[in-house]
Point group: C2
Chain length 381, copies 2
Amino acid sequence: MPDPGLTQTGVETVRVDLGPRSYDICIGDGVLASVGEHFAELRPGARAAIVTDETVDVIHGDALRAHLDQANISHVTIAVPAGEVSKSFASLQDVVTQLLAAGMERGDVVLAFGGGVVGDLAGFAAGITRRGMDLVQIPTSLLAQVDSSVGGKTGINAAQGKNLVGLFNQPQLVLADTVLLDTLPKRELRAGYAEMLKYGAIDRPDFFAWLEDNHAAVFFGGDARRHAVATSCRVKADVVKADELEGGVRALLNLGHTFGHALEAAVDYDARRLVHGEGVAIGMVLAHEFSARMNHCSPDEAIRLRAHLTAVGLPTDITTIPGSEAFTTERLMDAIAQDKKVKRGALTFILTRGIGEAFVADDVPRAEASAFLDQKLATKE
Amino acid sequence: MPDPGLTQTGVETVRVDLGPRSYDICIGDGVLASVGEHFAELRPGARAAIVTDETVDVIHGDALRAHLDQANISHVTIAVPAGEVSKSFASLQDVVTQLLAAGMERGDVVLAFGGGVVGDLAGFAAGITRRGMDLVQIPTSLLAQVDSSVGGKTGINAAQGKNLVGLFNQPQLVLADTVLLDTLPKRELRAGYAEMLKYGAIDRPDFFAWLEDNHAAVFFGGDARRHAVATSCRVKADVVKADELEGGVRALLNLGHTFGHALEAAVDYDARRLVHGEGVAIGMVLAHEFSARMNHCSPDEAIRLRAHLTAVGLPTDITTIPGSEAFTTERLMDAIAQDKKVKRGALTFILTRGIGEAFVADDVPRAEASAFLDQKLATKE
């Protein structure tokens, strides 16, 4: 297991190289304790606004506040309800208003402390409060550590779909404390794992194979987990560097997401029925099967992906989603057409030539996608 | 009157040079008619969303739509109520929701068609819809043509103050049709004039003197007006180029605005009592008088400014604002302290060594400002 960036204390640093907007991701067990040190280096004398959700606040809030107190950093806490419900205009207005009411100034720092919802919401709020406060992402879920906290995408949901309103707002620092993941429900850990596996499936077949061999150790924690998180961040950082504003290659990160988002919309974003990472898991299988149907790859590739997802306990079929018997091709296609990746009406999908060989297909005939979904919905496996 | 950038058709082009975010401002009588041509060059095949207010829509909406129709550009219109009330979270959500409901995609274009309120609101909405649609500013007020449409500041108001929520979002093009200003109420034209005069007062004493001599021709229209608008845009473009994100010198553009915003807050942003440009006019006089009090300039400089503002019919004294007898120093100081330009509690003002010699003073003692306001409020002139 190669760890070139590993220091003696077990902290790995990944640099996201974006010119004047470059920043570090510090990954390792216990990096939360270094928040004061980093903060003092980044913005000496500034105040901190911890934006978090009520669940994370209860579990980890006091630890973060104690670290800030030790470093004599003045702070306030703004806690929103946990869950996707907080990715709304109402929550955005609430957070911004609380930041202003607390007298936060432009050089003060928002600490986005939580999972993907908090990171997206707090990152958006930081970006528009006084036309841009500073931002440190402290992701507490695996999904957020390997995906949403890196790369600057922030946003909320709209009636028309997920993440349709937001900003590109790069943080000044990301602290990914891998020991915090021990408090996650197993289901959330698995959901984050789907996003890690995605990086392997996009263009790192070696990493995909490594995960097939080491998934148990990654779930257990320690060195294997840190390695997997750091590798994921490195892949994402490379893609973001090549295409910060998603003009081209960054779309690859949406492997599994076009179908996945449509499935999340079909359950009305009800996390009891489907969490994001589960949607991505099923969506990746669909992307591989759809690629096979379009003769871009062998059906064996989808079978290999499906086998590994099953081994770690992730879902692989639409029909396993509670209530999926009510899904229709029309509803799913509508959601796909609302996707941000639609250009001038043509459908864009991330397809693949095999594990580690994903590509952007921006000319997929709507009828092909529709016929494929008809077939998947008919198959009650 | 030097007009190096003037073409035969009477259109002057000012380039805002911001690297990959550079854009042109086209200024002249009738440039609105060229919208189709510009649009086809900028984003061939894209759709247009006209974001405007109900008043501008009634007066000029059909003309714009006719120009788009002639160029075969598909368009929708989103009209918000006229006035500062639309710089709110509710209006922002409304515009974004309508853009999404109309199926606007990332490569489609928001045409911000109106005065400062529309430009700020539509520019903000464009910046966050699908994480950034394209944006063309078509300012219809003098204030918007010389100030708010140039430089990328967008935003809405919060309970804590004006423009506290927003983005830096540069447009891809600005079309400033100077003949549209003929439909403006005289009071609004005067208010925009205050912002033009501000550029002279900041660092172009020649332009200030030119305006003293030519103000009647500027109000009348034609070449003098175009020259004044273009010169103002050029000054602003230079400042924005030097400091796009307001880290330093861009603060100079706030000459008159720290006091001005406090006065607007004191009348609860009631435009019947005080419009923004009038606040800036009074604010500039206060900034010059405060500078004289702090021994940065001669009192004659404030007298010269006051004389010219009076000549064009702009207010120069707090005590002429309806209801100003209820103003208190405490209330005004609170508003000033809420200003974005406060850093770590110290007060920042734009002061001056004389007409054309403004500078940023970031260490103004609160007690000095307070004593100065006490004096101004006591003087019922």
